[in-house]
Symmetry: none
Subunit: 117 residues, 2 copies
């Protein structure tokens, strides 16, 4: 189980390092404090090594990508631009009913601004 996400991780790690940040394994190794051979092991799609809790964090930090992207849980490597916006944070804590109401109201405001939908 989860064999496929291991492969996705390998591909995304390499892709993030090379295409996105233009780093060598040695450079990423220095940024993360990991040995470069560990990076190589991780990037091998047929390999078996998976990063630990800490190492996943270090890789994501050094590459400035989300861990969700590396883990294949999200297709975008950048977080939501508004991820820390108070509004988004608050909305999540609303009851379902209130959230529904907020959604309706926001729709109304939208329609007001853009006559014809």
């Amino acid at each position: 189980m989860e064999e496929s996400s291991r492969k996705v991780f390998a591909e995304r790690l390499r892709d993030s390092r090379e295409r996105l940040r233009g780093l060598t394994q040695a450079q990423l190794a220095e940024k993360t404090g990991l040995p470069s051979t560990s990076i190589s092991h991780f990037e091998n799609p047929e390999g078996t090594r998976k990063p630990s809790f800490d190492n996943l964090r270090r890789l994501a930090n050094a590459l400035e990508v989300t861990t969700d992207y590396l883990l294949g849980r999200s297709d975008d490597h950048v977080g939501m631009p508004v991820a820390n916006d108070a509004l988004y944070r608050d909305v999540q804590n609303l009851t379902d009913a209130d959230k529904e109401f907020a959604q309706l109201m926001i729709k109304k405001m939208l329609e007001k601004n853009q006559p014809k939908g």
Copy 2:
């Protein structure tokens, strides 16, 4: 090293489970396929166990939160999956004034739900 993020993980896991999803450890255990004692170990702020690659994914999937949130890399537990949520999409198209108003209203609804902070 990374001792603090282990503590953050413990807090956010428990918070996500209880406050956000209203699950017992046993219920989360069933959703993830993990033993409930493992959940308990993870949620202990003074504990030492950290989730593996696969178990982190399972927890995030079951709780519908980002791994970045659980790992303390993002302050918001919602990520890309909900970017398609109508509410979030709509909010981005609001005028600044309307967005401000929406935010205020949402805050009011929050306070109503949680009497006293």
